[in-house]
Symmetry: C2
Subunit: 429 residues, 2 copies
Amino acid sequence: MRTRPLKVALLGCGVVGSEVARIMTTHADDLAARIGAPVELAGVAVRRPDKVREGIDPALVTTDATALVKRGDLDIVVEVIGGIEPARALITTAFEHGASVVSANKALLAQDGAALHAAAEEHGRDLYYEAAVAGAIPLIRPLRESLAGDKVNRVLGIVNGTTNFILDKMDSTGAGYQEALDEATALGYAEADPTADVEGFDAAAKAAILAGIAFHTRVRLDDVYREGMTEVTAADFASAKEMGCTIKLLAICERAGDGASVTARVHPAMIPLSHPLASVRGAYNAVFVESDAAGQLMFYGPGAGGAPTASAVLGDLVAVGRHRVSGTTGPGESAYAALPVSSMGEVVTRYHISLDVADKPGVLAQVATVFAEHGVSIDTVRQSGKDGEASLVVVTHRASDAALGGTVDALRKLDTVRGVASIMRVEGE
Amino acid sequence: MRTRPLKVALLGCGVVGSEVARIMTTHADDLAARIGAPVELAGVAVRRPDKVREGIDPALVTTDATALVKRGDLDIVVEVIGGIEPARALITTAFEHGASVVSANKALLAQDGAALHAAAEEHGRDLYYEAAVAGAIPLIRPLRESLAGDKVNRVLGIVNGTTNFILDKMDSTGAGYQEALDEATALGYAEADPTADVEGFDAAAKAAILAGIAFHTRVRLDDVYREGMTEVTAADFASAKEMGCTIKLLAICERAGDGASVTARVHPAMIPLSHPLASVRGAYNAVFVESDAAGQLMFYGPGAGGAPTASAVLGDLVAVGRHRVSGTTGPGESAYAALPVSSMGEVVTRYHISLDVADKPGVLAQVATVFAEHGVSIDTVRQSGKDGEASLVVVTHRASDAALGGTVDALRKLDTVRGVASIMRVEGE
């Protein structure tokens, strides 16, 4: 065992950071044995220096994060601030001053992962970020290392606990979106401003990261199609139940067409109750990975929270620490495949469409003709009506999103179609 | 990219080996890009050299595995022969001649893992074996690396696909053990001699490996309590259903008492239908991991088969290949905690006991007294009877296996107890 300790700086000391600091102290002996060197908390950058932080020496606390990462004697910088700036500048500066970096920052990695990886490589340092996707669930490392000899075709996952809590609540109680959101907020599962979660920004960042690793291709946040779940209604859940499905907000990364391009998207979708993702309850996360040789794998666990996220951060800290001790680095960015990212229009899936229509003869024929003209094949149609108004529920075979979009535009122009009540993709079949 | 290829020798070319060779050929470009050097199949040791092996140059095939591993120019030896010898000697010789080793050999690693790790370390080489436990499911790497900063308290898993197929069949169709085994054999899920699977030897080897990694302690096959599933009956499944449970053959590794020791065991057990492991169907595997910070994680996927096992082997091949290119090694054995392994008697769990008793007043009081005298607290008792004979089903609170054993011995001595029809542990609550 090396006796000179590895110096670790912590940027951010909120829910995750304080837990990282606590475990570094309480499990110091285990961490030292596993790394091959003791770890020393060398500094903690915070915004509010006066807050009492149990177990952290006040002499280590600073508000000058830039000066901390410039010290030059740091081995590892742990970034748990979140957001783009100042995190990006601090990480870059940390590399320039010789430190490796462990980050939990999904937004930054989804937006600027390539540049950060390049900076790490330029300075011969590690950039690890298991905590950025699905909290404690080992996902980055299995994709980057365990499946490195396989060809991943699809990643399909529930990667946002807040929205899964809300959708699970709507499913199990029949509550509407607002009511379920209010409960999530009251219980601390949703933030005061839930936009990042419910509009799918958080999941889209994770989808970009997962797609990049799975397909050895750079995928940026802007490449990810994103649709939130604020418009999912109790009626949608009723429709899903009739289909033997439930509704989840899914992040889906897959090879498109003949595998020559990739797509990444986040949207609510119906999935069959028999699919393992359908039974992921509350704020849990789970990710399905489909590959050529391994077949279907699933990874399940808590997707957020201070302790679970700290577990992922500390796993990376041990890996990066071992590399510091042995003077090496782990695998860097793998983007050699450089596949083009296709647009949402090229995604092929099935659709569940609810239409409000006039209750008169010939409507079904009109609607069916529109689907046929756009090359979208109908699997089932269900018609119900009363008082001159009727509804049509159409479930399609697999079709491109562009073809479906064209179909819906044309349906809206029919006199006999009063409105398109909902369009939902059907996945996981 | 390094242009000189990494030379890989394959020991064994059966279901797994032939798949490894196939993927090495068809995915050569991807493997080269991910490793940073091309890989070259330098030799294939087989028992039957005359068998036609599609895609493998006959000039590479040899029956002299020892000469192959002694060549001295090999970078990586992939051992997929299985069994103790000659695999052990070949792996040791491979290290002595400068190769790193990727193995899928659970029996050997469970029996001699420490010596093999020591040989790897002595020669500065890697020993990787993701494929030894639960086929394609990334489990060794997540435990060894992702959770390296956490404290694992329990590993609870279905790690044998053959027995899970049989038990699932018994559960879903009401079939008896023999009938379900026959179907498993006919479908190729069970071998002609199913002993290693149905008597729990295979699962016990995996439990030893998992416990060793999870608790940073050497756990050998002999340390694992083992009970097969050949005596599970349709009546046991009926009892389980009444409890809201099903029956699975579980591998359970946990810290005992106050965490100062560990236990590892394999036996059939009732688990609640609400537990995620209860819904693992057919020949699939799944492993639950409980840790201090991460909480509950689950890893799910195909536990066997040529392609899934090859996926795990190739993931290790890429990792070990990267290390060869950069002149480093990954984490070796971590056994620093060196916790004592407690005997089965110290395991604490709940029990479901079915007794055949005389149908007369006072029997329940007698039986309850025996439980009380041995310090085993009863949760529920259900009594049913006809024609002078009756059955008592007792479900206990948590008690040590030693206390339960003493209780059962004393029950057998009661005149009013005709027999102990079954004893089954209840887990996962």
